[in-house]
């Protein structure tokens, strides 16, 4: 078993009376490719917020490579190799695409060595993502699909060991979805980065990941290989009360 990079133990998040995340355990090991699915409001994004330090868990512990980071601010998570994207692209609209990628390299990525050349500089990151020709375009002027890719590029700038992708494929066409799924596979295979991927497009996700976590009403109801999870009774019930998970 490879080293555990990121671990959440019994993590809960309460907003007033609402329990958004309820005692979730998650271990991400080196080079793992994990998917997280679940109906709307299942707590997927809130879980990501805790894993990246944006939301402090009400209960439970978080650690990165065995170091307890519970309650630390987001830049500490980034400095320890956890990078993320956001559902709606949060690029620096006034900066060029290249400057957006360079941002992470200047801060979280600055002291983080990474063996792969693709992480050397902003240009090579943009090239990996197929964004080389828009390097000097302001991020705000890019198409939504390219802004989503740039989000990933910004996270690459942080030279992460674990990449948290929050619905990077939302709103993409069938073909773009396929390309994105391939890209995510390459991130793990070629760059050796562990990936945790939240997506609504369940079919595309199931085809790529090796392990799926299913969240429902804040609780983890399944955790296993896609084939196993797809046959899980609790999962099928969570999705449309008995029908097959929608793609």
């Amino acid at each position: 078993m490879a080293d555990v990079l990121l671990a959440a133990r019994g993590v809960s998040v309460r907003f007033g009376g609402l329990i958004a995340v309820d005692g979730v355990d998650l271990e991400v090991s080196e080079r793992e490719l994990i998917g997280i699915i679940g109906p709307n409001g299942a707590g997927k994004t809130t879980l990501f917020h805790t894993l990246s330090g944006l939301v402090r868990p009400t209960a439970g512990r978080l650690s990165v490579r065995g170091r307890d980071l519970t309650g630390r601010p987001p830049h500490v998570f980034a400095a320890h190799g956890v990078a993320r994207t956001f559902q709606t692209p949060r690029v620096f609209r006034e900066m060029t695409a290249e400057a957006n990628v360079r941002f992470g390299l200047e801060f979280a990525g600055r002291r983080r060595a990474h063996p792969h050349d693709a992480f050397d500089d902003a240009r090579s990151i943009l090239a990996f993502l197929g964004l080389a020709e828009v390097a000097s375009v302001p991020a705000g002027a890019l198409t939504p699909a390219r802004q989503r890719l740039l989000e990933i590029g910004m996270a690459f700038g942080a030279r992460p060991d674990v990449l948290l992708l929050d619905e990077v494929a939302a709103g993409l066409t069938e073909r773009e979805l396929e390309t994105t799924a391939q890209l995510i596979r390459r991130v793990r295979d070629e760059l050796g980065v562990a990936v945790v991927w939240i997506e609504h497009a369940v079919r595309a996700l199931m085809g790529v990941v090796e392990r799926v976590l299913v969240l429902h009403q804040g609780r983890k109801i399944a955790d296993g290989s896609p084939a196993l999870v797809a046959r899980d009774r609790a999962v099928i019930e969570a999705y449309l009360g008995g029908e097959e998970p929608p793609a």
């Binding site: 601010p73 830049h75 980034a78 400095a79 956001f86 006034e94 979280a108």
Partner: protein, 317 residues
């Protein structure tokens, strides 16, 4: 312009301007001091508030603190120490206050920093009353006009040079990231809290040093004069009209504004605030990126212009 070139240009300009006391009349010299004072204040304000969009109204507080350091120390301390001390006191104060209020944004931050000026003003009034049994101070031992002019020039030039260096530094990049999307900057490794405090304190340093340098021009100092909210507001307006996201904008605007204010005050002593106010409303409404955005728009690189245009507007906190 690269940071190194901007610093060299600033140094050269300062050397030329240093000849003014021997060339200009007293009236023109005092007009130049007013220009330099607002140039230093506006540039130092824009150093922090420009990139972050945190609308600070604390300039009067920093300026007044600096002025009081001079009021207390000018008779006993060396002049340079008064000015540096004024800057340091303001910077330390900004760091302490910043640690407490820099998590607030938008109107909350603006109102709080405005209240800060009032708070310090009342604190100093109370302090002076209870320990020195006075409300104001007459400054008797002050440096001559040439020394004061050269000091104001030095502080203004230092503010511009430091602003240029900050823009090109990681601090400047972090501040722009904070202005763009603070949470995003955090997730990319920026300790936003530390960077904001550093930027705020650095900006306060020059406002405090300017207060310390300028204070001796008034022979009588009391809290209402040096914690004058008008100084703070004028600084913010100058920077915004010039284009807070740029370096040259606030600088040029400070010169134009100071001359224009003086002209209006002499020609239309009653209507000048009306004219000034109307002009500001028009500029903020129709040129939110400041006058600098006019220059940017003409540049051939459409991309660069587009990038700069949105950045200079009034706070979007």
């Amino acid at each position: 312009m690269s940071a190194a070139r901007a610093v060299v240009a600033t140094g050269a300009a300062a050397l030329v301007l240093a000849a003014a006391p021997w060339l200009l009349s007293d009236f023109l010299l005092s007009l130049t001091v007013a220009c330099l004072m607002y140039a230093g204040l506006a540039v130092s304000w824009a150093m922090f508030s420009g990139p972050t969009h945190y609308l600070s109204l604390a300039t009067a507080a920093f300026f007044g603190l600096g002025a009081y350091v001079t009021a207390w120390g000018v008779a006993t301390l060396p002049w340079a120490l008064c000015v540096a001390g004024g800057g340091l006191v303001a910077a330390v104060f900004a760091a302490l206050v910043g640690a407490a209020v820099l998590h607030l944004r938008g109107a909350y931050f603006a109102v709080l920093t405005f209240g800060l000026g009032e708070l310090v003003r009342h604190a100093i009034t109370y302090f002076e009353k209870s320990y020195f049994r006075t409300v104001g101070r007459v400054l008797t031992k002050t440096p001559d006009a040439t020394t004061v002019y050269l000091t104001v020039l030095g502080v203004a030039a230092a503010a511009v040079a430091v602003a240029a260096v900050v823009r090109a530094s990681r601090l400047g990049l972090a501040l722009r990231g904070i202005g763009g999307d603070e949470e995003r900057a955090q997730t990319l490794g920026v300790s936003t809290r530390r960077m904001k405090i550093a930027g705020f304190a650095l900006s306060a340093f020059f406002a405090g040093a300017m207060g310390a340098a300028v204070a001796v021009r008034w022979t009588y100092i009391d809290p209402p004069a040096v914690f004058n909210p008008f100084i703070g507001l004028q600084t913010v307006l100058i920077a915004m009209v010039g284009g807070a996201a740029t370096l040259g904008g606030p600088l040029a605007s400070a010169v134009v504004f100071s001359l224009f204010t003086e002209f209006l005050r002499l020609r239309f002593p009653y209507a000048f605030l009306l004219v000034l106010g109307t002009l500001l409303i028009v500029l903020v409404l129709y040129l939110p990126g400041g006058l600098a955005s006019l220059v940017e728009r003409r540049r051939p690189a459409a991309a660069a212009g587009g990038a700069a245009r949105g950045a200079g507007g009034p706070t979007r906190g």
